[in-house]
Symmetry: C2
């Protein structure tokens, strides 16, 4: 049955512009960074690291916003809530989201901090090391959360990264109450192990209260949440406590567990890992789009895996329209058309028709 | 003999950030644009068109700045003079140029106009339609032109686009005098036919005074300058009046004429035209790098053609480090290594070693 809600998903997340540059392993080492991780940096460090980085391109990002960008491209009705400043990068973020058809009306912050940015170093192995200056993004106040949107969206999707700053944490806590009060579902993505290190008790308490209907995690995160290094033990510990648990496992694919039923899919084959930025974000986009279409868990996982594959084969966490030709002619998926399933072919066809990301 | 000047080239040009989005032909038509052309727009039109555009990526641009970016990647000593505002896009432009090793010290404008941007619509045929909001860029004053740099650079390279605004025109006119007074060469690129429509008399007068040592043009521009639609007639009219004339001819290659000697090269073969933005800029980069190395006209033309080919095979007018893998594995030139000449192979090898653009 098709949803009658205004939005299928409303998300709260970081409103952030990515600054993406190629880097060699020597720079990662010289800066003392942990490859593949995300860390928070202050304005001073952001300035210093930026000066040490090579020439970059700027592109709208943010984990939950990337997910919505992917969902909008799949034809879903989405809205975003997140804080930018009244500056040029804020205009860029706002433009790019709206141009994709995502509703976004959070008023820009007039003073206090500039728009958030994430300095992303992409190494030759395709891994991305992220250095996030949260700026205005962490100043999202409770008053900004557009309760009417949340009450009129099938799913409220929350980005774990925003649990760290006290202001935005309070705003998200309020958003959960609004969604549940309106009989809506709440989905939460754990985002990063360091978030769980700091707020694992919060998350376990929220799960204990039954406030999360869908929980997204990767292998590292689910283990951190369960307090074990054993993946199966972690799944066994967490799955019974949430209606739907979704765990991505990089090259090992992904699983979903609901009502004791466990479904797994393998990762989609890929020739060249160009940049893993946004793989988890786009997996969630495909999975949630499948949910909105009322599909089976297996189908939702497959849609997630296909979206993740597409984003890994290009630079940046949002599929860029302008790379259509490169992707089409040089990468996926048209060259591999005969290896695709019917469902994948239909999904790809929709992307192309939509004239929107993940092309 | 190697140059002893501080810089091999100092360029004056637009300091501009490109905002690049894919567009279909319908949008070009609906906006009444001439595909493949450049037009100037005001702040209001820039805002309106931006709102109508799809999601974009931001990347530093500017014709002469793109040329220097390419030259720096080829190991040449370069400096840039151009006006940004004290805003986020100005910081992006400044960072990207310096990160390439190009000297750039023009103080940012504190008020009056924001940093220039060029809204670039890339259609499926790889053509780019440019809509330039000049902002701070056209407010380059004579006081900003760093006469000591100009006096200590082998070649002063001027971008025709900047001849339009009165302030920057006066600054460039002064720069020419400084360069000539110091016994340096002056190179000028005509940039666009609309510039010649408005300032052809100026250019013909400057040529008549013997102030240009090297003149860069494409077919349309040289014909506009000569006031004829016949390419050969145009070359015959202009070539005797400048020490070195260089004309690019898209898929027909390029020619150089000096002292009555005319040399031609064909265009480099290319599988897929992704985006022609910057082809002329990067041709100039290759050609001028060849000049700095004291190479023959034929070698200089070949270097220009190879640079142009590389930039056409990717999105945007500056070769992006981060696309190294895509270019390397999916596009040029490693797949075609057996078809390359020794000179080309050496050029490509240097690009890769430089860890810099045009990879």
């Amino acid at each position: 049955m098709a949803s009658t809600a205004r939005f299928e998903v409303v998300a709260i997340g970081n409103a952030i512009v990515d600054v993406i540059a190629r880097a060699d392993d020597a720079l990662i080492e010289a800066e003392g960074l942990t490859k593949g991780s995300m860390r928070l940096i202050d304005a001073e460090e952001a300035g210093r690291l930026y000066a040490a980085m090579g020439p970059a391109i700027e592109m709208s990002g943010g984990s939950a916003a990337n997910t919505l960008a992917g969902m909008a491209a799949l034809g879903r009705r989405c809205a975003f809530i997140g804080q930018v400043a009244d500056d040029q990068l804020g205009s860029v973020f706002t433009h790019d989201l709206r141009a994709l058809g995502v509703a976004y009306e959070t008023p820009a912050l007039k003073e206090g901090a500039p728009t958030a940015r994430c300095l992303i170093l992409v190494t030759p192995d395709g891994q991305r090391t992220m250095n996030t200056f949260l700026g205005a993004s962490h100043l999202l106040e409770q008053a900004m959360i557009a309760e009417d949107w949340i009450a009129d969206a099938d799913i409220l999707y929350l980005e774990g990264y925003l649990w760290d700053p006290p202001l935005s944490r309070a705003a998200m806590r309020r958003a959960i109450d609004v969604a549940r009060g309106a009989g809506r579902k709440v989905a939460f993505t754990l985002s990063d192990a360091f978030i769980i290190d700091r707020h694992g008790d919060d998350f376990r308490a929220l799960i204990g209260e039954g406030l999360f209907d869908i929980l997204f995690a990767n292998e590292v995160e689910i283990c951190a949440l369960a307090g074990t290094q054993d993946f199966e033990a972690a799944v066994a510990a967490i799955a019974p406590r949430v209606p739907l648990l979704v765990v991505t496992r990089s090259e090992k694919g992904a699983i979903a567990v609901a009502n004791g039923e466990r479904v797994a899919v393998g990762a989609e084959p890929i020739d060249t890992v160009v940049d893993t930025t946004g793989a988890g974000d786009l997996f969630a986009a495909g999975f949630l789009a499948g949910q909105a279409e009322g599909r089976s868990l297996a189908d939702c996982l497959t849609m997630g895996a296909v979206c993740a594959r597409e984003i890994i084969a290009q630079v940046g966490p949002r599929a860029q329209l302008i790379y259509q030709q490169v992707v089409q002619q040089k990468l996926m998926p048209m060259n591999n058309a005969t290896q695709m399933t019917e469902d994948e072919r239909a999904l790809i066809a929709r992307w192309y028709q939509a004239g929107a990301p993940v092309q």
